[in-house]
Amino acid sequence: MAKQIVKRDGCSVLFDSSKILNAIAKANKAVGEEEITATGLLFVTEEVCRLLEARSLSNVEEIQDVVEEVLIRFGFSKTAKAYILYRAEHTKIRDAETYLMDIYKKLTWAPAKEEDIKRENANIDGDTAMGTMLRYGSEGSKFFIDNYVLPKDAAAGHANGDIHIHDKDFYMLTETCCQIDLIRLFKKGFSTGHGYLREPNSIESYAALACIALQANQNEMHGGQSIPNFDFAMAQGVNKTFRKEYVAAFACFLEVKNELDAAEAVARTEVLLQGLPYQPTLGNGEAFGQALLACHGETMRPLLAKTHLHATQKAIQATRRRTYQAMEAFIHNLNTMNSRAGAQVPFSSVNYGTDVSAEGRMVVENLLLATKAGLGNGETSIFPVQIFKVKAGVSFNPEDPNYDLFRLAMETSARRLFPNFSFLDAPFNAQYYREGDYNSEVAYMGCRTRVIGNVYDTERQVTCGRGNLSFTTVNLPRLGLEAKGNTAAFFTLLDERIDLVFRQLLHRFKVQGSKKVYNYPFLMGQGIWLDSEHLKWEDSIEEVLKHGTLTIGFIGLAEALYALLGKHHGQCEQAQALGLQIVQHLRRRADEKARETGLNFSLIATPAEGLSGRFVALDKQRYGTLEGITDKDYYTNSFHVPVSFSIAAFRKIQLEAPYHALTNAGHISYVELDGDASKNLEAFETIVRFMHAQGVGYGSINHPLDRDPVCGYIGVIDDCCPRCGRKEGEGVSEEALLQLKKQYHDVPM
């Protein structure tokens, strides 16, 4: 008998005949018939060992050959077959492991610009240490999920491009995104999991802690992080700042006017401001002044009136200045601070525009001004994605209290591409709206995700503390091609895909639901997710997760229509009618599934640009290059009219708006303007107002920003480039360019 056997990797281990016996037993059990008794197993194993010795075989593959031979010789042909299959499957996995190691080699040695795999996520710098470490994890995880976790049909559907399981590498780990209520979080302070923070007391701290909250939550989820009520939350910081500034200016005035020493002035201020019915705020200057005078005797009043006036003016000035700086720091932080092992900035969004308080308005005004001014040397910032809430009676019409902010938002967007605009008056959004309650205002997460309806808990159709759990996208053009122009066949195939996606979403939900509070020390441990504050550290999160959404998405409606009718919905009314029918069908199926399961199944107009390229590449392999369908690099985003199709803005909005009402898990429409929108705000406003009128839920106006080919600056360039200072036709010295390269990552070299 051989004492050692040689494994595939070349190393030797002690021979153990029980391993052979177990393998045969497993194969036999898998067959379910042709049962081999315990004695039979021993007999077969002994026969294998005898032959190995007789032939002096010691290699693993040779041993397996002998096992097959013996099984067949003794008439256990079915068991032999199972054994062969088992062998083949493991060979496949081993090959895949080699494949994984090849990927690791590429990640390690090749520069990002040469390897697609290192550029998969545009936000991650694949050349840095932490970026590479993150990619090792991601690729290893995908391998594990594909080979050991996913149900076979879902794995196959994803691999062949029928569907796309988004963020598959996070399948076993976490959820997509969350709308964070900072007001709740800040109350009594919070812990990030690494350190405890007190309740903030100034606008600077409010803004800094907002960044920290986004960052901490980003490290626990795979999608974006959003603040749905930014103006309301930051207003509290402005309020505290103003009060302190008022008191300080009040004391300062007394100190100078009455020639008191500083401590005495502070003490007197305290006494004078005591016992008043309310605190001084940014918005109540006059009323507070009157209350102050009413509280004191005739002789004090002239001095108090002057002091109050001075304190109010000084406090307003100081608060405005500090708020601007806090908002500037907020933007700078979100474009520079690290998350995910230092390889990425958080994917952040903020929604605002409906707080009509003086404090909330000051926040929004200064955030917009800081955004308009740009980063560093006037660079256009990428984060946070900003969304201005448009609401008649609040911000939409010239007589509305926040109309001025809406105007400023458009002015800012015309220069910086953000903010985008959300429309709370669209009927599907308006149904949730309760005046003065930010939790009833629909918010959008930057990429377009929308979470508000709640079939699991109809009393809690709210924005805060909720988000998407996961989403999976259907490749519509492929269905169009498979249906070969037959609409009925298309819907049959579509139903099969929808069934597959629902099964897979539920499978993932089971995995997610098996997690405990301690897996999410911030998201669940700090009570950010709805109802998680009632859970204990070791509790399962399955029940509270039901507030989140399970979402099916779609891509390439235009190409699917083209495959079915030879025209897309921008080209003919029949196609538009069928397009609506398809998306209505998807929505109806999601609604039915939601009723059946009590879970928030919903429909999203899938955003992923990278994915639309993957689908088209796979379909090109399968069906060849087909005009209007696979003859492009990307399938058209969700329900959009193809970007390359020339169409007037009003038509595009009219055609796309009805799909917004159907896609309850998120949507966006873009309008492309050809020219510098900052010089024509009237045109900009016309388009935003038309979106509002047509029932668009979330819209964005894009316009080409200028790009200086010499220094890479992107933004509005008039006669002189703000980054390198050159005028058209002038050059920049090599030395100056190298210097700029260190400051700006996008200087072309």
């Binding site: 007037a648 803005a649 009003f650 303007l673 050809d674 020219g675 510098d676 929108a677 010089k679 024509n680 009237e682 045109a683 900009f684 016309t686 388009i687 038309f690 316009h703 008039d718 006669d719």
Partner: protein, 183 residues
Amino acid sequence: MQRNASLPCVHSLRVHGVVEESIVDGPGLRFVVFTQGCLHGCPGCHNPATHSFGEGYETTPQALLTQFATNPLLAGVTFSGGEPFLQPEPLAFLAKQVHALGKTVVVYTGYTLEALYPLAQERPAVASLLEQTDLLIDGPYVAALRELDSGLKGSSNQRILDNEAIGSLWNVLQLRQGNVPNG
């Protein structure tokens, strides 16, 4: 300028093309008609293909108006070129119809208003078109004076005149002409 009550319907004009929605040819979203044919020959012109008189195609004010009227977002029409004042009859007619829809008219010309004055003496429609113009950007493009900051002008010698300014300058020109004996 005072607008005359009636204008004759003119059946055709030669255009280089139209842009259905432009944000760079006047306030708001605008329907731009690029007329065909121009004599100025400004060096560095950004539309040299519109200079010859043979190219482009014939269309009618009615056809342009129909196309214009389908788009609810439009603030108005812009005549650019080419030189619009070489075809003032159909354009004045179209401009009047646009006004009837409550929309505005912007006109680009390579002539200065002063240079248009003598033309108007021979061709009354020049004055009619000016009457129908809410915003006139006048004067030739001078490459050496290129200026992009303002948004509407191509070079700093050009002026942006609203209807009132056109009217008062026109009055000055008339007075000046009246002062010259036997004109």
